[in-house]
Point group: none
Chain length 204, copies 4
Amino acid sequence: MNDFPAKLQARAARKTAKRDEKKRQIAASALNALKELGYANTSLRDIAEKSDMSLGMLHYYFEDRSDLIIYCVSIYKREFVRAVTKALTAASGRDEVIEAFSEALVTSIIEDEMTHRLWYDIRNQAMFDVTFRPVVSEIETMLIGTVGAAFDKAGHKIPPEQVAIYYALVDGAFRYLMQDQFSATPRSRRALQAIFRDLLAQFF
Amino acid sequence: MNDFPAKLQARAARKTAKRDEKKRQIAASALNALKELGYANTSLRDIAEKSDMSLGMLHYYFEDRSDLIIYCVSIYKREFVRAVTKALTAASGRDEVIEAFSEALVTSIIEDEMTHRLWYDIRNQAMFDVTFRPVVSEIETMLIGTVGAAFDKAGHKIPPEQVAIYYALVDGAFRYLMQDQFSATPRSRRALQAIFRDLLAQFF
Amino acid sequence: MNDFPAKLQARAARKTAKRDEKKRQIAASALNALKELGYANTSLRDIAEKSDMSLGMLHYYFEDRSDLIIYCVSIYKREFVRAVTKALTAASGRDEVIEAFSEALVTSIIEDEMTHRLWYDIRNQAMFDVTFRPVVSEIETMLIGTVGAAFDKAGHKIPPEQVAIYYALVDGAFRYLMQDQFSATPRSRRALQAIFRDLLAQFF
Amino acid sequence: MNDFPAKLQARAARKTAKRDEKKRQIAASALNALKELGYANTSLRDIAEKSDMSLGMLHYYFEDRSDLIIYCVSIYKREFVRAVTKALTAASGRDEVIEAFSEALVTSIIEDEMTHRLWYDIRNQAMFDVTFRPVVSEIETMLIGTVGAAFDKAGHKIPPEQVAIYYALVDGAFRYLMQDQFSATPRSRRALQAIFRDLLAQFF
DNA sequence: AATGAATGAGCCTTCATTCAT
DNA sequence: GATGAATGAAGGCTCATTCAT
């Protein structure tokens, strides 16, 4: 009897899934333009041109510019956090955690500098524009969680409110080193690794 | 005999001084608008309106928008660095330095959150727009110098290249705590001080 | 089998054609404003207002102000050269050419004074602004060609490098007489015709 | 008894003379900027900067921008007409006039191309802006007079209204050749002279 | 579902002109 | 006499967004 509703629901779900897939695809393209030019300097036109999409489509799938950017950033987040988390799962014991964590951070600094640059841009923008705060907050919570997990795995117990501070410290170093990668004299992978290892060794 | 050149020179000097004074005055006004709205959201019109200046005047004194913003930021820098430096001069010995330094940082977080927010905005922008790099670089050098001075005064010897990392750590914490001051539940002065004291105690 | 590419190509062609048509239409409107006010005194806003177009549209179809103006002028060129050429095709023999050529010139002076006025404006601007040189050069080449054709048809052989000088002479007279048409005492069609007839008779 | 008025008058005259001298001096400086950039592209600021004059002074001596430009052009005119006239005075007889006239024209094309370029610019502007018409008209009358004088001296009688047409022809050639001097392949003095000599020989 | 033409508000900048000194 | 600080109108151009197709 109520097959119909079920069918309709299924169809709607399929539709939503398809739409989401498309959104993800668009966001991936948009991310490229944003990474390169930054929040303030990337227009929707830039995005459309750089990714062979029509201007109309951007608005068809996303409410407005902010909506698109937020979507882009939240995609990035999953990627990064997943990568770090994965790196940590294999590790056990203080030394292995230090090794795995610093390795993951360094790799990301070297390979994804531009994505991180954008993240810092959006995080900053969030302080002026409340629209961005929810995503930024969500991402930071995840990042803090990752740092907490590392401490746990390393066998170093610290009170929850302290974890946030340690995140802030690691992030401070991460950001500084990433910024320097854009300078005329970027650090070698080796040098970066040494810095993070020392840092984490001090923390744990 | 050659009074004339002297007089002309004096007049030119007075003129330059006056112009500089005016620039500073304009920059102070502009800073208010920028602090509130951020780099990406502040137009020259906003600045002109918020400070009862004509649009033309901004361009009369500053080459372009970037020039004005750079001037504003570099004024802020002197202020902040001077304040921290001053706070440190009076202190001697590890404990006094920790006390003075954390006190200075906390005060600045509470009283100048908006200026710092702008600073982080510009520093970020510099990663996308080379125009801002020189100022940002200059300011960060000064900030690193301040951190170095604190270590010195606290009697804690560390190699120069380490100072930059410690700056990055302190900055990471500072930024994080400042950001939270804009949230619904800002920290109390007491809480902030505790955090910085612990942090510095750990570092020194 | 490969209908698809063909279809896509056809669609793209139709689109380009439509866009070109629209550009021509806009240029025609813009030409009216330019003819009246001249290069230096016509803003894009003037053009938009005088022809009920939005400012944005002008920039949607043309790169910038120069691009629009160049397009306008190059449209004018085709018109004028075509008119003169057409007038000459029918003529054969010295007397008929003199008659047809002077008739075409006079008609154009009387009916299109304002377009010619603009042409002289742009041609002049080209001496200061290299942007305009290619169009101006292209048009002058066509005009010289027209003069050359007239000489040919009239059975008067002259070396190629001389043609340009004759063009310059005819143009000098044309410009002078056109300018006078804007004075308080414009010449009659009859008078203009007499002048050109005499002139051409002397040349051929 | 009425010495006073006389004295006052004399003083006023001296004052006017001094003011005129100053205006001439300013105009000479301004001419340099105008020659280079052209009417549409030269701001009063440009003029002030290029000639070490204050912006205020320009307005102190000249009603407005047009007034200054008109003054500049009228200075140029005296110079040019005087030069040509002088060249003609020494000549007598058809051949000598042809020689002297073409020599004067060629010299001016080569040495004063930029001034002529400006003249053509202003003459054109006059067609759109009535403000410039009086000066332009005045100058053209003088130029026509010069051409008339050449015909006279060459012993070639032509009716007055014809003189204007010959002026237009010579001017057409002059302008065309001058324009080419700005191209990549300017003509040699020798080539220019040949062209003008042939032309004048044909006219006289 | 997707497109891209069209809009108009807004941005940065330039400029002739005025005026207090 | 002369200066240059200050103004505000206007200019070219960009952009997010809307909407007819």
